[in-house]
């Protein structure tokens, strides 16, 4: 028998195995795909360009896993954790397992939901593949980073931390927001805004950062995951175009979602911005450079002219994100530095070479606005002190980052917005977050804001140590890096030489 072509195999598997229900109303079988106002006339118009089928999915995923687990084994056997540039590098991995791995798991769950609840067999199968991918990512990340958990703090308790620790409410509120939306909005938020529009700014810096800092294991799981990611990007762009092509009435709904989810996803990436600029001992590229390359050049320059054809314009508040590229990483890392008594990663003042690199990367802002802060913080540390800010910050009702950004174009003025809904005042960090709040105040008024919850007595007690313990963060997980267990151990192991590490 002649071998079927990819096209025929795909068609047989996704179309021929489907049937139209006759004794049950299709609206009862697929109850979630109408209430959002999106009109779909022909589900078969959905084409997966990858034309992936179960046999090829299994074959290539197995190959990816084989490669990865070979690397993990040699990493463990070769004391790979000692070949990093510096133990400070681990902070980037801590942020990853605490803040990104739970997103993968949540995506696994919700794509499983879509694999049941979308009306068309093509998108259902694509969602099923993505659901399996996301579970694979969760598992491979746990298996890879678990290697470091044997030697370093902060990696041991990420599911509890994701639910309870203050800065992790930033990614958590993002995914909760997406999962509580309807299926089409979820596709726009996670598949398109996160996986297509901004994914490169999340994964490429982590992987290149790993590659540049001697972390073979993370680089390998990153690549392994990212090879699935191109399929997810395709699902994101494919689903967006599908919705736009199905009915003209869908266009304004999708524009509204794009306006919302661009800014939501962009704010989450603020944590990645500070990672890129501050947490890598050997930095790869600055946030600003990454943003210009992956967002301004590829998305604004490449993608949006394509979407203009459908009547879609670039998202609202894009100009504000562009204006922030010179300041955002510094403002967030400065927050993390002063509040790291309550984080599960450590923070410290960058060394002089690193500060010089930041001066070069940010010639318009760093020396003027941020380097003096770091010089001052270093001075305090040299005198035996350490600046921590023990006053809990006002969080933004939407993104849940402390209200500490500045006005677009003016790094000297704090940006603070507030909106009144049914007699209550809500605080917001920016025009973007305020716009999102005012569009759905009844949703965001329910936000679980860690600082409010602490003050209401819902987080383990009244004193900070009680709250930190309740969060699942142990002594040594956070605080100042210099003198931390990770730092002390690193110095000891390297002074002894790798042969004598005798772990």
């Amino acid at each position: 028998m002649a071998k079927l072509s990819m096209r025929e195999r795909y068609s047989l598997l996704t179309r021929d195995l489907d049937w139209t229900p006759t004794y049950v109303d299709p609206k009862e079988v697929y109850p979630y795909t109408r209430y959002e106002g999106i009109k779909i006339h022909d589900w078969d118009a959905w084409e997966d360009p990858f034309r992936l089928t179960v046999d090829s999915y299994c074959k290539y995923q197995a190959e990816k896993d084989k490669k990865l687990y070979a690397v993990i084994e040699s990493f463990a056997q070769g004391q790979g954790h000692l070949s990093l540039t510096d133990a400070r590098y681990l902070n980037s991995l801590k942020l990853f397992i605490q803040g990104v791995t739970p997103l993968e798991y949540a995506a696994h769950r919700h794509f499983g939901f879509l694999a049941r609840h979308l009306d068309g067999p093509g998108p259902r199968f694509a969602a099923l593949c993505q659901s399996m991918d996301e579970l694979r990512h969760t598992q491979t990340e746990v298996h890879t980073l678990g290697q470091y958990n044997k030697y370093y703090d902060g990696l041991h308790n990420w599911p509890q931390m994701f639910d309870r620790v203050w800065y992790l409410s930033v990614p958590r509120s993002f995914i909760d927001d997406a999962m509580t939306a309807g299926p089409f909005e979820f596709l726009t938020s996670v598949s398109f805004a996160f996986e297509y529009l901004l994914t490169n700014l999340l994964f490429v810096p982590f992987m290149s950062g790993a590659s540049f800092n001697g972390d073979l294991a993370t680089m390998t799981f990153g690549f392994s995951a990212q090879s699935d990611e191109s399929r997810h990007m395709t699902l994101g762009l494919g689903s967006l175009k599908f919705m736009l092509e199905q009915d003209e009435d869908n266009v304004p709904i999708i524009q509204g979602w794009l306006d919302k989810w661009f800014w939501r996803a962009y704010r989450v990436l603020g944590l990645v911005a500070s990672m890129m600029d501050y947490m890598l001992p050997q930095p790869v590229m600055s946030w600003k450079e990454g943003f210009e390359l992956y967002f301004e050049d590829q998305m604004l320059g490449g993608l949006f002219p394509d979407l203009e054809f459908y009547g879609i314009r670039p998202p609202l508040h894009v100009e504000a994100a562009i204006a922030e590229k010179d300041v955002v990483s510094h403002q967030i890392y400065w927050l993390l530095y002063q509040y790291c008594f309550g984080t599960a990663f450590t923070a410290t003042v960058p060394d002089t070479a690193h500060l010089d690199w930041l001066s070069e990367q940010y010639p318009d802002t760093f020396d003027r606005h941020y380097r003096p802060l770091w010089d001052k913080a270093r001075g305090i540390q040299q005198d035996g002190g350490r600046f921590f800010n023990l006053a809990l910050p006002q969080l933004c009702q939407v993104c849940q980052i402390p209200v500490a950004f500045t006005e677009p174009g003016d790094p000297t003025r704090l940006s603070h917005r507030s909106s009144v809904h049914e007699g209550e005042r809500y605080n917001l960090c920016s025009d973007g977050c305020q716009w999102i709040f005012e569009r759905e105040p009844e949703k965001y008024r329910q936000a679980w804001l860690p600082v409010h919850q602490i003050y209401q007595g819902n987080c383990g007690g009244a004193a900070l140590p009680d709250v930190i313990a309740w969060s699942g963060v142990r002594p040594g997980d956070g605080g100042e890096y210099l003198g931390s267990p990770d730092h002390v151990n690193w110095e000891r192991w390297h002074a002894a030489g790798t042969a004598a590490s005798g772990l």
């Binding site: 072509s5 990819m6 096209r7 360009p49 990858f50 034309r51 992936l52 090829s56 074959k59 290539y60 190959e63 990816k64 994914t199 490169n200 994964f203 490429v204 992987m207 290149s208 790993a210 590659s211 540049f212 680089m219 690549f223 990212q226 090879s227 990611e229 191109s230 399929r231 990007m233 395709t234 762009l237 790869v284 590229m285 301004e296 050049d297 590829q298 998305m299 604004l300 320059g301 490449g302 993608l303 949006f304 002219p305 394509d306 203009e308 054809f309 670039p314 562009i322």
Partner: protein
């Protein structure tokens, strides 16, 4: 910064590996004017028009049979739209 003033490119980011070296050779042969650059761990391939990856050319460079699905093992990310992906070729371009 207006959108109109930018150069519109498509691109593929690939894992820096032996297989990728052969893929890039094949892509260079089929796509004149391709630019190839590197960031740690990644080979970046960009073009101002479209990028075509042909099975036949990859097979010639690799000296072995190659399925277009195998491209999934090397790709890290891309910019553009996957316009075609069948047994013989993959085409990445902007549609509009």
């Amino acid at each position: 910064m207006s959108i109109e003033t930018r150069v519109r490119r498509v691109g593929v980011d690939l894992q820096d590996s032996e297989d990728t070296r052969l893929l890039v050779e094949a892509m260079e042969a089929d796509n004149p004017g391709l630019t190839v650059s590197q960031i740690p761990g990644i080979v970046k391939v960009q073009s101002t028009g479209e990028i075509v990856i042909r099975r036949r050319t990859v097979e010639e460079k690799a000296g072995r049979p190659w399925e277009t699905h195998e491209f999934q093992l090397n790709i890290v990310s891309y910019s553009g739209n996957i316009s075609e992906w069948d047994d013989d070729k993959i085409v990445i371009k902007w549609e509009h």
